[in-house]
Amino acid sequence: MGRITLDKVTKSFGEVNVIPPLDLTINDGEFVVFVGPSGCGKSTLLRLIAGLEDVTSGQIRIDGEDATDMPPAKRGLAMVFQSYALYPHMSVRKNIAFPMKMAGMPQDEQNRRIEAAAKSLNLTDYLDRRPGQLSGGQRQRVAIGRAIVREPSAFLFDEPLSNLDAALRVNMRLEISELHNALKTTMIYVTHDQVEAMTMADKIVVLRAGNIEQVGSPLELYKTPRNEFVAGFIGSPKMNLIRGETAAQKGAATIGIRPEHLAASTEGGLWQGTVGVAEHLGSDTFLHVHDHGLGDEPLTVRVDGEMAVRHGDRIFLTPDESKLHRFDKQGLRI
């Protein structure tokens, strides 16, 4: 079981209020991702749940039980740290065994769980090595193994993939998702990378300055962002935000249109501009269009990879009216 409820939780460091009163419910078995720009309090929130920081006020409940003042070890949560925090002087086997040793588990049960974890994480050949002799991805798996053997009620991940190279990150992303499918345990995952959030989460919590901006499934956030911040944060490349005259015509302070919802053509369209940088990814090409007369920011457009456009070309853009997002003066969705 792993149902975690935050009830009006706040956290301040001295005078600085990092997290204003915040309510959140994480259901059993859910994969929840906290996402937001750096300094938004997402790691602090995770550490509050873990018990590594004391809450200033409010209540944290785990499976209905008040865990606000419980020491970290008693909460039944396992954490994977950004730096992996493996014990460098212990072999992989001892690293994985450490939490069970601390819990005083019988030796044969320890061995059984180590073997099972090592097998599922492809670590069997490395059990007698030291962390210093492993690659980044292997260290990551050892850290996960150390969390799994405790059979926790929830896993906490603190930006676990940020130290890996791009290819490995994609791999580990898959592995963690598969792990979640296999274990069906609650997982809370902190990242600043919206791609990780979109691909892995059942539920995304977008944070800004300690406030929850929106909670929802990846597609909900993509389709109906509650405000301009979420609209700009979720989706890659970022949504184009257009203010002024054009927005007013649509009855909004700001309109947003995603790069993939702009149709580009060399013959004609609603808006026109000059191609600045063209980023060719093969499958797609991202065009940065300038001099469109809609504002200072260049518009980003996704076009087919086959489309032959170059720097300096004239291009016409037509937004898909049904995919247009409209926001009022406060940045809230209309």
Binding site: A50, G51, L52, P71, P72, A73, L77, A78, M79, F81, Q82, S83, A85, L86, Y87, P88, H89, M90, F98, P99, M102, A103, G132, R146, R150
Partner: protein, 290 residues
């Protein structure tokens, strides 16, 4: 050092320094070896003659030698034990955030800046003196008989004084080592259910192993040659109760004017120091490997 030419140039340029250092070591060493085989007494100038192993036989069969050997080992071992254990505990304490941390850290380092003769004299005259010393006053306040530290427990007192001098060094090195410990490791251990004691023994102590090794090796070098503290407090006495090898060699060559015997003692001391070094490296040297 990529090319042959640059390697050759490097050797050429480093050679004066190497040769100078080599000469600096070889000349006194060979002179000591040479003197150790001479009957060479300053009271009988011009009477030097080759005596073979006599000086060594006399030095090694001297009952003071065995006593000095044990005293040296006790002094080194005792100070090492007190400074590493005490240094670790002090470092743990000073690693905690508290008000006035900077001042306290400077105060803790202070004994290291006091010259050995001065600190030994201060301890001898102001603390341990059985009539005027602070400890005597404290004893009298409680109605106890003052204890004459340097007469009753001369070696123990010297171990205490030397430990007081070296504790700051150990504390400082161990404190910096402790501060380099990744906080996430401690947090991970905390989440893994390790209590304060388990965290110390399973995480902190292994992390400190290398620093402790450095402390032990460096201190051993200096502790084998403790001299000033003995000279100004007990003069090696009573009897030979606080004489270490260094002090015995000093007595041999400068109080008995026996340069030959002193040189033989010096050679013995070099050999013993090397034996100690080999033992130390065997025991704890592996901690220095990455």
């Amino acid at each position: 050092m990529a090319t042959k030419a640059s390697r050759a140039a490097a050797r050429l340029m480093i050679s004066p320094a190497v040769l100078l250092l080599l000469g600096w070591m070889i000349v006194p060493l060979s002179m000591t070896l040479y003197f150790s085989f001479l009957r060479y007494n300053l009271l009988m100038p011009g009477m030097e003659e080759f005596t073979g192993w006599t000086n060594y036989r006399f030095f090694l069969t001297d009952p003071a030698f065995t006593a000095a050997l044990w005293n040296t080992l006790l002094l080194v071992g005792g100070v090492l034990l007190i400074t590493t254990v005490g240094g670790t505990l002090l470092a743990l304490l000073m690693d905690q955030p508290f008000w006035g941390q900077g001042i306290v850290r400077i105060l803790v380092i202070a004994p290291f800046f006091v010259m050995p003769t001065v600190s030994a004299l201060v301890w001898k005259n102001m603390f341990m003196n059985p009539v005027n010393g602070l400890f005597a006053h404290v004893a009298k306040f409680f109605g106890l008989q003052p204890y004459d530290f340097l007469a009753q427990a001369p070696l123990g007192s010297i171990i205490f004084i030397v430990s007081w001098q070296w504790l700051p060094f150990a504390t400082l090195i161990l404190l910096t080592a402790l501060q380099s410990l990744d906080q996430e490791q401690l947090e991970a251990a905390e989440m893994d259910g390790a209590g304060a004691l388990s965290r110390f023994f399973y995480i902190m102590l292994p992390h400190l192993a290398r620093a402790i090794t450095v402390v032990i090796l460096i201190q051993t070098i200096f502790l084998l040659s403790v001299f000033a503290e003995i000279l100004v407090t007990t003069n090696g006495g009573p009897g030979v109760a606080s004489t270490n090898l260094t002090y015995l060699i000093y007595m041999q060559s400068l109080l008995q004017f026996d340069v030959g015997g002193g040189s033989a003692g010096g050679v013995v001391a070099i050999i013993l120091a090397n034996i100690v070094a080999i033992f130390l490296m065997r025991m704890i040297g592996k901690n220095l490997e990455a």
